[in-house]
């Protein structure tokens, strides 16, 4: 069922208060609740958590940009080498080798996330130009 409001953009506003969304309308100078009961009337767009990898579907792709999939291998290896370094804490030379391997894999991961990810995920490319106003509009 649709609402009875023709131009919600002129009549309604929203704001966040803690864990709650407020949708309000201006009514005789004050903000008040709306007088509309509409199924699925409000559509909230947000950045949220991705879906976890389903246990029964290992062929599923991780819910993240494909450019990061290879780097995920490096991240996990970095963590596992760190675990192994901890297991060999009594043998400092061996632990040092595992630690340096861990750092190397983490360096690859961080490099991908910090330097390459922003350029891989954007859909805008090429140089940007300042376009001056037409002479007659100055």
């Amino acid at each position: 069922m649709a609402s009875s409001i023709t131009r919600p953009d002129n009549k309604l506003s929203w704001f966040i208060s803690g864990d709650r969304l407020a949708v309000a309308t201006k009514s005789s100078g004050s903000w008040a609740a709306i007088n509309e009961t509409v199924t699925d009337g409000i559509l909230v767009h947000y950045y949220g958590e991705p879906d976890p990898i389903p246990y029964d579907q290992p062929e599923q792709y991780p819910d993240i940009h494909p450019a990061l999939h290879s780097a995920l291998v490096d991240y996990v290896k970095g963590k596992l080498f760190l675990d192994r370094a901890g297991q060999f804490a009594q043998v400092p030379e061996t632990a040092a080798v595992y630690l340096s391997l861990s750092r190397e894999h983490m360096r690859v991961w961080k490099n991908m996330v910090n330097r390459r990810l922003p350029s891989l995920t954007t859909k805008i490319a090429g140089p940007r130009f300042m376009v001056p106003l037409p002479i007659n509009s100055r």
Binding site: I16, D19, R20, L43
Partner: protein, 100 residues
């Protein structure tokens, strides 16, 4: 899916070449944690969810969404289309002093 994409099975296989004794559940947990963390930190996962509007109710609970950064709210018009509504930047002040 692009050719760079790797399924969980492929990722796990690559890890097992170096760590044959790595547990699947442990690797899966490490992956889920970092994917969640990086997605929230870098705003990588856009989602949308509909909510029923209720007559006379101003506040709607969002805790079911988990960690979420709301960037846009639409309201259904009389044609059944969703229309972007503006955000009140000083909502806290209005909530305390100006709500009837």
């Amino acid at each position: 899916m692009s050719e760079n994409a790797k399924s969980f099975a492929q990722i796990f296989q690559e890890i097992q070449q170096v760590f044959p004794d790595a547990g699947e559940a442990y690797v899966r947990r490490i992956l889920d944690n970092i994917i969640n963390e990086i997605s929230i930190e870098r705003n990588l996962k856009k989602k949308e969810t509909p909510i029923n509007s209720v007559d006379g109710q101003m506040f709607y609970d969002l805790s079911v969404l988990g960690p979420a950064k709301i960037f846009r709210v639409d309201f259904m018009n009389d044609d059944g289309d969703y229309v972007l509504i503006p955000r009140l930047l000083d909502g806290e002040f209005i909530r305390k002093w100006d709500i009837t």
